[in-house]
């Protein structure tokens, strides 16, 4: 065997080993679109010398189905709707997190959400971002005073000028709040009243739109109001169209929150935990809050030291104590009630 051939084989073997080593330095995360901003991920990759592979998903059902069809270890990190953490825990998909490694003491107290992220005394996820499903509107086209009363928002006055955000939980939560039903107490018996409000809302709506469609509709003047909208809808448009704004009505609004956790069976649990810790650190939180996909409030209040005054103004940082006191977490139904709520939503859409 010639020395050249040996050199070739040796080089190939080393390349293979290097490749294997590089493969061990990859983290696979199943996330929402706000995590795909390079400004958020690149600092972590550089600090740890790793590559973070991100896959976006929509809908907890789709994520859980994907995880259940994957091999343990395929995925390391999961970003999930705060109210759905229990579903992932029930399915045995989330690993326990060391509670003392998480800076929840620095969080806005209302969004620690221990009842969602902790099951049987074990922490499985941590809140990373929150915001509101409320009323977004064009201040140049509607009377802002009307927007502070939910019943006025979907009154005949604005027929054909509003769009409904296409997610049943926050919109049904708003309908419940309008009827004086606390979102945490929604039961089967309340669905009739909520359905009536939904039907009224639907009859006045020009469309039922997802994130991009709702933003397009507001920006192009197709509609003037988005029921279920909020800072996540208008913040990215604020610079170009300052008339697009949002408010929390007198009756209150719905609060959304997203959590992050490490997946059970991850082959890189330490690196995954480091990623979670980075995301909930003040620096990570500031970057996540102002992600190019959508803005939202950071769970960690210390992100306020990093965010600029202009960014905090868009996020309405100083109003948070008032907003947090007047909003309710959006409904977290059990499986049976969830199906009933979806059926009601789909029935309403098809009317």
């Amino acid at each position: 065997m010639s020395s050249r051939l040996l050199l070739c084989l040796g080089t190939t073997a080393l390349a293979g080993l290097a490749g294997a080593a590089a493969a061990q330095e990859e983290l696979n995360a199943l996330v929402w679109c706000d995590h795909t901003d390079d400004a958020l991920i690149a600092p972590f990759e550089e600090a740890h010398g790793v590559t973070v592979n991100l896959r976006e998903y929509e809908g907890t059902g789709a994520a859980l189905a994907l995880l259940e069809q994957s091999r343990p270890g395929d995925w390391d990190v999961l970003v999930i709707d705060g109210i759905d953490v229990f579903r992932a825990v029930e399915a045995g998909l989330l690993a326990e997190l060391p509670a003392d490694a998480l800076p929840t003491g620095d969080f806005f107290p209302e969004v620690v959400m221990a009842e969602n992220n902790i099951v049987d005394g074990k922490t499985y996820a941590v809140t990373e971002k929150f915001g509101y499903n409320t009323i977004s509107y064009n201040a140049a086209k509607v009377d802002p005073a009307d927007m502070s009363d939910l019943s006025a928002v979907w009154s005949e006055k604005y027929a054909g000028r509003l769009s409904i955000y296409d997610y049943y939980l926050p919109v049904m939560g708003l309908a419940a709040i309008a009827g004086g039903i606390p979102t945490a107490e929604i039961g089967t018996d309340d669905l009739s009243a909520i359905g009536e409000t939904l039907a009224t809302m639907r009859s006045r709506a020009a469309s039922v739109a997802g994130v991009v469609a709702a933003q397009t509709a507001l920006a192009t003047g197709e509609v003037d109001i988005v029921v279920g909208g909020g800072e996540w809808l208008t913040a990215v448009l604020a610079e170009e169209q300052p008339d697009l704004t949002w408010t929390i009505p007198e009756q209150g609004a719905v609060r959304w929150a997203q959590s992050i956790g490490v997946l059970e069976g991850s082959e890189k649990p330490d690196l995954a935990l480091e990623f979670v810790k980075y995301i909930v650190s003040p620096e990570g939180q500031a970057r996540l809050a102002t992600s190019s996909c959508f803005w939202g409030m950071p769970a960690n209040a210390k992100a306020g030291d990093i965010l600029t005054d202009a960014q905090k103004a868009v996020l309405r940082w100083d109003d948070q104590p008032d907003y947090l006191s007047r909003t309710q977490l959006y409904p977290a139904p059990d499986t049976d009630l969830d199906i009933e709520m979806q059926d009601l939503w789909l029935d309403t859409l098809q009317q």
């Binding site: 929509e58 059902g61 469309s207 739109a209 397009t216 003047g221 789909l346 859409l349 098809q350």
Partner: protein
């Protein structure tokens, strides 16, 4: 011996196509069929032979409505596309000089070169209250204030028709250019008027091209999720949209599979209705 070798060679040639069909059609279809007979117990998938997912179609009004909406939109789009594509194909085949026909066809299919999603969003902007259509109607004094065009069934149908007219133009044109001019001449010689010639000679002879294009339109339209989602504004839901809801939030694969089987059933019915004239070689 020669016959056996010939048989083996025949199977050898056919095997790749057979395996491809088995792997990418028969097997997935079988899995989908089996999944449609399974049920969900909470989040647990329970395999079995239950027809409960199909029974839900009868029980849940929004599912029945989705089937009706899908059929109404698809049949409207197919009919409108045929009505618009036939004259266009006719003009290209018989009125455009042969040396310009390639260019005319190229122009007819130019919109195909744009992304489907981008094209749908473009229509959304064109049909918006402050879009070009409303602006033109206002300028002409035909309306006093902007009318709602986007986020309606009209918008969905418009987006679909724009796409499928191109497809149908190709299939009908391919049929028309194969017709010998002698058929028309013979009909005229026998005293037929232009309309009678078209009605009794040209139309029957071009029916395979029409039906083939219409069938393709039906198949692609009834299974499409993007156009109704972007242009329809969720003001009514089609079957593919309802399937996405089942998958996205509930992860209810059994019910989604049953709905997909229903879609396939509708496509099969459409095939049977047009089977007599369907000519895939016209494509």
């Amino acid at each position: 011996m020669t016959a056996v070798r010939s048989d083996a060679m025949g199977w050898g040639f056919v095997a790749p196509a057979l395996l491809w069909t088995l792997a990418f059609f028969v097997l997935p279809f079988a899995v989908m069929g089996a999944m449609s007979l399974a049920t969900l117990d909470g989040r647990e998938l329970v395999w079995g032979l239950s027809l409960s997912n199909y029974a839900e179609l009868a029980e849940r009004a929004y599912l029945r409505r989705a089937v009706i909406v899908s059929l109404e939109i698809t049949l409207t789009v197919t009919a409108l596309s045929v009505l618009l594509a036939y004259p266009l194909a006719w003009i290209i085949a018989f009125r455009v000089p042969p040396r310009w026909q390639r260019l005319a066809l190229l122009l007819a299919i130019l919109p195909f070169w744009t992304s489907y999603v981008v094209r749908s969003y473009a229509w959304l902007l064109v049909l918006a209250r402050e879009g070009w259509v409303n602006e033109a109607l206002l300028m002409l004094g035909l309306i006093a204030e902007p009318v709602t065009l986007a986020n309606t069934r009209l918008a969905t149908v418009t987006g679909f028709v724009h796409f499928f007219v191109m497809l149908l133009t190709l299939t009908i044109y391919a049929n028309l250019v194969q017709l010998s001019p002698n058929y028309r001449r013979a009909a005229m010689d026998l005293g037929a008027s232009a309309f009678q010639t078209f009605r009794h000679v040209i139309l029957p002879l071009t029916l395979p091209g029409i039906v083939t294009g219409a069938f393709l339109t039906f198949v692609l339209c009834i299974g499409d999720y993007v156009t109704p989602q972007i242009l329809g504004g969720n003001t009514e839901l089609t079957v593919p949209q309802v399937i996405m809801v089942q998958l996205g939030r509930r992860a209810d694969f059994p019910l989604a599979s049953a709905l997909a089987i229903v879609l396939m059933g509708l496509v099969t019915l459409a095939y049977l209705a047009g089977a007599r004239w369907l000519r895939v070689d016209r494509l």
